[in-house]
Symmetry: C3
Subunit: 349 residues, 3 copies
């Protein structure tokens, strides 16, 4: 009767299982300040209560990615403690704004299972949901991870690869964003004049700046999210692995790239949906992260003339600048690419 | 008339002296977030206002150890600036819950003095008390430290080794914990099903996970506590000592071990008393901390059927895993053991 | 039509230009906690709401230098992204206290331009102002920076070296400080007995302690201030420069030195004005900072008998202790000196 949890192995998951995750977490102004110190985001909406109030929010909302990381962190002990790799994301939607003082909890439903041909691992698909203390959903997303088996001889209870949308439909966007008073949007304060109509499909933007990551920084971040994955924290263990180093939480890369993207996307104030995403290659301490974006699409929001949606690809690299927009050579990613994220975000019209 | 303080030396202390420590400190949600980022604690009570309210607290209380570190930090400039080693703790009691917005101050009474046979150092015993802005005591504990003498020829004003309890009596427990509504305790959210009755004397729990410490992390922590001990911050000085490195504040180890102990003690929500404790060996940056616990005793709380008390030994190691529960070989501690702490904590029944 | 900003070059500035800077920033208790963790300040006024209320503030004010760094950070993308060096400060005045919840914005007026004889750079003088959400000025200061030219052949629109005061007049002091009830000032809690009258012109104080800086620490700080200067963050770029390392934001040194100065200036609770300042030499990670102060002058505040002003020189060194008060040899600074700051600060009478 062990009191400690060793996490689930592949054969422990069953399709249809709904897992309530520990630990409820009240997000505060302290978390917001740490998020700023860790990534340096400059989006006016999340940075200033006064700016947020002027355009229609009750106060500055918590950064969408901080909400994502807190919800993600809760799922780790139950879903990915024995994971080999975080393979992908889909059908991510931000459903309600979160403010300091709100308490978040999370649940996950197992929606797919597929054993790998090696029989030593399998892929687990879960739909995870973040909840606010009042029962509102704040976030929903699918992720799939490669999980070790405890016993190679064990077989999955059933196998199913879920049919996932490659794109969140524009009709589903906007839920977490109140009506924006665009006349009150101060483009001087937000840092750039570009509105929805200024972005064109196919446009590529090099975000110019780079950020070198220290071991202490990603550990502070990942603990802040109460993410318990051993690979991020335990050098004594890591030194005995093939990699030899602590792996940086993939979400840390997303947040760094998003913060860098301010330089070019200053008015892109809200991540609304995640269409797909993959961590192409790991990041390690002392690497420098760069980023570039491509406008993959644009969309109107049904019934709204205040904001429009941009479908953006956000690519992060390590130790490689992005003026040439590195992405793929044939089917492979170019050297240095570490993140390929496809998301919807809102911009004032 | 120097305006700077060089701290007290052994011969400056007199039994019966009561020292009021500078600096009052308002604890905020910012401190709580930093504490989470520094150690990654996951106890639901301190993590969630909603959880805390449901079971009977007005909001999430500040982590007991954050309170301890803030009070301890105030005592350093007056007690241990010229200390050689922090030798032990006893009779520690948490007397009132602390919430964000409360302001803490501290006093210490000198209760014992004993010169060492070398005549170059002596042991100072103090009973330190943490106070809330409204005059309530929030914490009391005895610690003893080995302090340098300014002048080897100086003699102590008097010598006395105080008679200290080896154990805080169960009758003295519970002061900082309001009545808990155990029916409202959500064991799914707290992360494990184990109640008071599930723990047996003699039970040993390996907390499995390890945490590697970076120089920046312990410096951020120790400054947050306004602890001014030079050995933690000044590499220019340390490199000229026998050790050659910055020493990590012992309280940092206690907090890391306590956070790791969530894996096995998820519902052990409140440190109520510290029976004894010693920092067996120093921790340095880049070491990895592991921990295990032993149930040394259990106790009912007089007049309370909501919570019970576990007497726990918390052992921390560095660069050594704890599946074999390393502790002693004969009278000596095993290699790798860095902390041996004996405390009372509360669990719902 | 690039959407990213490459920053202004020397020839882009015109005398009289007024630049509104992005990004508005609400300062919170989270920022205050991080500031404490980054520098370890112990001034009672900023540390304790209870102390601040007792003497006449509505609550603990935000540290003056945190306000300075936030305002400074906003000016970087518009003023000093292409700067070679931050040359000096003058006419700095703190005009209103800032409390958690206040939102800060910034503007700068170009007040001087001078091309350097090399024709490759020029000096830009700006008067920057920090504003509170209600339209109050909270801070004003002049700084001058050496900025690269985009095109060596370009000529400045006009040249002018502004006539700057070498000293803020005492009559201008006190604006950000409410009337202090000195009878309620608890010199036990503040940590030292010294009042205005205890400091004499010419007095020099070695602040004794040293603080070693880690790469993660200054990056966290500088991102917290949303300061985007590349030299602080991008090791990939820095390694290709003559210096080879990340440069630490000069303001980080000021905050470290000010925090160290508590040991000797415990009751010097408010930085009121900056007369002049220069970053003599750069600081790098793993260097240890020490500091000393000299009383350059004292002044009464017109119509106030509660507080007096000390004119202080604050000198910071790296990897050199300050018992000998290192400063100049002839016209040059002594080796190890990194900061020479001349400021006014308030002390209770």
């Amino acid at each position: 009767m062990a009191k400690t949890s060793a996490g689930r192995y592949f054969e422990d998951f069953r399709i249809g299982d709904v897992i309530r995750h520990a630990v409820p977490r009240t997000v505060t102004a302290g978390d917001v300040a740490l998020y700023t110190a860790l990534y340096g985001p400059r989006f006016a909406m999340q940075s200033s209560d006064a700016f947020a109030r002027a355009v229609g929010y009750p106060q500055a909302p918590v950064d969408d990615l901080l909400v994502f990381h807190v919800v993600f962190g809760k799922t780790v002990p139950d879903i990915s403690l024995n994971a080999v790799a975080n393979l992908g994301y889909a059908e991510g939607r931000f459903l309600a704004a979160v403010y300091p003082g709100d308490t978040l909890t999370a649940t996950s439903e197992v929606i797919g299972l597929k054993e790998n041909s090696s029989r030593r691992t399998g892929v687990v698909y879960v739909r995870s949901t973040g909840w606010r203390q009042d029962g509102e959903k704040v976030l929903e997303y699918v992720r799939w991870v490669m999980v070790n088996k405890r016993d190679e001889a064990a077989r999955p209870h059933a196998e199913l690869v879920p049919d996932l949308a490659t794109l969140v439909e524009p009709a589903a966007l906007g839920a977490a964003c109140p009506r924006i008073d665009t006349a009150a949007w101060d483009f001087g304060l937000s840092g750039a004049p570009h509105r929805f109509g200024d972005y064109a499909v196919g446009e590529k933007i090099d975000h110019v700046d780079g950020m070198t990551v220290q071991e202490a920084e990603h550990q502070l971040a990942t603990r802040l999210y109460q993410n318990t994955a051993k690979v991020h924290f335990n050098q004594f263990l890591q030194v005995r692995t093939r990699i030899g180093r602590r792996l940086i939480y993939g979400g840390h890369v997303i947040s760094l790239a998003r913060a860098l993207s301010y330089n070019g996307l200053a008015n892109v104030f809200h991540i609304d949906a995640i269409n797909s995403g993959s961590h192409v290659s790991p990041l390690f301490a002392s690497d420098t992260v760069f980023a570039w974006s491509e406008v993959l699409g644009t969309a109107d929001l049904p019934g709204r003339d205040d904001v429009g949606a941009l479908r953006l690809r956000l690519v992060a690299t390590k130790d490689r600048t992005c003026e040439e927009h590195p992405l793929r050579v044939g089917h492979d990613y170019e050297p240095g690419v570490i993140l390929d994220l496809d998301y919807w975000a809102l911009v004032p019209r």
